[in-house]
């Protein structure tokens, strides 16, 4: 089981690397988000015919994951821009374009498909939960490393 999980993790990492997520920590964050989205979709979609909340939650998670993947892919190249103004313009144009696209999708979900707003918001919050868990795990890891190497004192 552990080997299967490791193989899946390595396969996902390789796939993300081929897709342009070359920075290891960024790739880790994106991988976690992809796993969360897959788990949420697998858990919620069987109930999508029964419960509106289930597919609303899955839709929120999918929307924010796509947003984050797009942001992370572009974010790796931002600091490489020579001109600061060019970098800021590129980030802002992409941000507003993504926001408009997300707004259109959310409008369709809420108005046309009558998705429930609260599960949608909960789905959107998965990215924040992912970051917090990643940050806490990293902080705990660095503390353990400090204790083991005796650099804490």
């Amino acid at each position: 089981m552990a080997t299967l999980m490791r193989n899946l993790k390595d396969g996902l990492e390789r796939w993300l690397y081929r897709r342009g997520y070359v920075h290891p920590e960024v790739r880790e964050l994106v991988r976690n988000q992809v796993v969360i989205t897959a788990l949420v979709c697998l858990g919620c979609l069987p109930f999508s015919g029964v419960s509106v909340a289930a597919w609303s939650f899955a839709a929120g998670t999918a929307i924010i994951s796509l947003n984050f993947c797009s942001l992370a892919k572009f974010g790796q190249q931002i600091t490489g821009y020579g001109n600061k103004r060019e970098a800021i313009a590129a980030v802002l144009v992409r941000f507003y374009f993504r926001l408009a696209l997300t707004g259109f999708v959310l409008f369709g979900l809420i108005v046309w498909f009558e998705a429930l707003p609260l599960p949608l918001l909960a789905g959107i919050s998965t990215v924040v939960v992912n970051f917090l868990v990643w940050g806490v795990a990293r902080h705990a890891g660095s503390k353990t490393h400090q204790t083991l190497t005796g650099k804490e004192a």
């Binding site: 964050l29 942001l71 974010g75 600091t79 970098a87 507003y96 409008f107 949608l120 919050s125």
Partner: protein, 113 residues
Amino acid sequence: MRKAFMTIFSTAALLTLASVAFAADTAGAMGAIGTISWATAIGMGLAAAGCGLGQGLGLKAACEGTARNPEAGGKITVTLILGLAFIESLAIYALVVCLILLFAHPFAKIITG
């Protein structure tokens, strides 16, 4: 420049007040809908502007940091992406709240009677 800003802001303020005055004359429900529409428009505008400002400032600081210390570029990039993602999720929260107010208002039945 200052004169142009003053003209733009006073025009915007007059237009806003005019809509409120017109809304007060109409029936209660229509007035409430008008107020909600204005509130969502202003709210989303402020949220988008604030988030854009935040992203721009964060990116500016990250570019300066990387230029000063290129070896720290990797760490700065991760922190920058986290910050940008947090800001972007804030903008999306604001967008959802505005859409709730406009199309899925929890007290819509009470307002419209």
